[in-house]
């Protein structure tokens, strides 16, 4: 069995290498082919349904194939799904819109490459928006890989709008303070002094020598906080300390798994203030933000794959439950 699995893996890798090196241009399905693919996938589900109904459960490998196919094929399709803007995403966008050019935004990148497929698209859209609207971005990270992910967003913004490469200057328009160990204590200390936690930037430039940070000593000198988070330390810690204690207006971008934990912070308190102004939740939140910032990119593309995957999981849940009730009835 192991030889077969190895052989299958080698064939798949060879297939993709051949596609990568010998395909003249990216493969795109025509709408007709896309519809045929969807019909075939649906028929396969009907087959699984019938087999399960007969009491013959399919193996987990078949489930894996279904998920793999449903995630992969949409990348070649040309459908564009209608993206509706949720109030949570709209709030973040509106808060950014209200900031006048020159406003200072603290962006904390608290995630690693494992969550990048979900968070990087929204971070890219945010960075491009900030640069194009004259916002000054102070980058930092409570996760070691965060500042490097931020660098990728900066490069993505420059690649998409080459004009920014000349107009945006490091140290004047954005600065990368790097990673600081200490989790929520870093945020707590930044409430008193940014410099205490980041005496230099990523390039060992002393804090006081960076023009952008001339009049920035703590949260009171920052106009908005944006946190991209995949766990702890992340949005919850930022809200509890920077937003709640130091009254920094904050927005956040979270993975879909983490987003439910941030919802309680988006309700208005007695003072009328929200602890968290808005939230970009998962791939859908990223796609909505891309739509608002008129930069339909990776999140919008990936959303089609996610839609297919969600449908596949739901279909499996339905089929599994139908079989369960049938078995139960038979036993009775």
């Amino acid at each position: 069995m192991k030889v077969k699995e190895l052989l299958a893996a080698v064939i798949i890798v060879l297939f993709f290498l051949l596609c990568y090196f010998f395909s003249p241009k990216p493969v795109q399905f025509s709408p007709t082919v896309s519809v045929v693919v969807i019909i075939l996938l649906s028929l396969a589900f009907v087959y699984v349904f019938i087999r399960t109904f007969q009491g013959k459960f399919i193996g987990r490998r078949t489930v894996f194939v279904f998920v793999g196919v449903s995630l992969l094929l949409p990348f070649f399709m040309q459908f564009s799904l209608p993206v509706l803007i949720s109030p949570e995403v709209r709030s973040v966008y509106d808060a950014l819109e209200e900031l006048p050019p020159g406003s200072k935004v603290l962006a904390s990148f608290d995630y690693d490459p494992a969550s990048a497929p979900e968070l990087q698209p929204m971070a890219d859209a945010f960075m491009k928006y900030a640069f194009e609207h004259g916002l000054k971005v102070i980058i930092m990270g409570l996760w070691p890989q965060g500042p490097q992910q931020a660098d990728q967003s900066v490069q993505a913004a420059f690649a998409e709008n080459p004009g920014l490469r000349d107009s945006i200057k490091y140290g004047r328009d954005y600065v990368n303070l790097g990673f600081q160990a200490g989790n929520e204590f870093v945020i707590l200390r930044m409430g008193e002094s940014f410099k205490a936690m980041f005496p230099t930037d990523l390039y060992n430039t002393p804090y006081d020598s960076i023009p952008l940070l001339k009049n920035v000593s703590n949260f009171s000198n920052v106009d908005f906080g944006m946190n991209f988070s995949a766990g702890k330390p992340g949005t919850v810690e930022w809200v509890q300390i920077a937003s709640d204690r130091y009254k920094l207006p904050m927005g956040a971008g979270n993975t879909a798994v983490q987003a439910p934990m941030a919802y309680p912070y988006m309700k208005k308190g007695e003072s009328g203030r929200k602890q968290l102004i808005g939230l970009l939740g998962g791939m859908a939140g990223g796609a909505e933000f891309e739509k608002l910032t008129k930069k339909q990119a990776k999140a919008t593309t990936y959303l089609l794959s996610q839609s297919f995957a969600h449908m596949v999981v739901i279909m499996f849940i339905i089929i599994g439950n139908v079989a369960f009730f049938r078995e139960k009835k038979e036993k009775e």
Binding site: F64, P113, A116, A181, G182, A259
Partner: protein
């Protein structure tokens, strides 16, 4: 002394943070700052400690030929390679004009990060989708009322969080479309549940913290 010293530090630090929260003025805020700085320093050392511990465990595994000792060799090789390129690029960057960081685009460290570490991490995380689907098929059953409610919530949220949900329910008025149902579940049911959990955790944290500060809870020191 081995026990009294940590207990004293925990007591002083705990009390300092409590007082500084309610009286954020000198001298109490200074205590808070000191202890925050200490924590950052200790956390930085903990990263090195973790890395060195990983090396120690991996070497022991190889020497004693324990199970998966071949994986331990891979860990050590990867660790050494990434460490070498990190230090090499860091040294080069410090002496360059203009200076650059070891993780800047174009450095060998960044190449490894983008082309090796990133795809491997994303692949590990992506495997979750396959296991979730498989588990859903085999185990996500409406066995009782609670399981049925969970299943229904999952159904509405999963469909409502992607545009396909609204396409399916496109014939309904806007307020009855799938995304609205998902939004209601997240904003009302989820928020209520999350708040209950948060309050419970907060109460537990307060009581545990007080026990630690007062020296009643000593498990964090190890041993008894």
């Amino acid at each position: 002394m081995k026990r009294e010293l940590p207990l004293t530090i925990a007591f002083i630090a705990g009390i300092a943070f409590i007082i500084a929260y309610f009286i954020p003025h000198p001298p109490f805020n200074r205590f808070e700052n000191w202890f925050s700085d200490w924590f950052a320093i200790i956390a930085a050392f903990a990263i090195w400690l973790g890395a060195l511990n990983l090396m120690k465990i991996s070497f022991i595994k190889i020497i004693r030929k324990k199970s998966d000792w071949l994986h331990a060799i891979l860990i050590i090789i990867s660790f050494v390679i990434i460490l070498f390129f990190g230090f090499y690029e860091g040294y080069r960057g410090l002496h360059a004009d203009p200076p650059f960081s070891f993780r800047d685009p174009g450095t060998s460290f960044d190449w490894i990060y983008v082309n090796v570490y990133t795809p491997l991490s994303a692949t590990m995380f992506a495997l979750l989708a396959f296991f979730v689907a498989s588990a859903s098929y085999r185990a996500f059953r409406a066995r009782n009322l609670e399981a049925t409610l969970l299943l229904l919530a999952a159904f509405f949220v999963m469909l409502g969080r992607v545009p396909v949900g609204d396409i399916i329910t496109g014939w309904l008025p806007m307020e009855y479309q799938m995304s609205q149902w998902a939004s209601w579940i997240m904003n009302v049911l989820n928020t209520a549940g999350q708040r209950a959990i948060m309050i419970g955790i907060a109460l537990g944290l307060v009581s545990t913290s007080l026990r630690i500060i007062l020296g009643l809870e000593r498990a964090y020191m190890g041993g008894d």
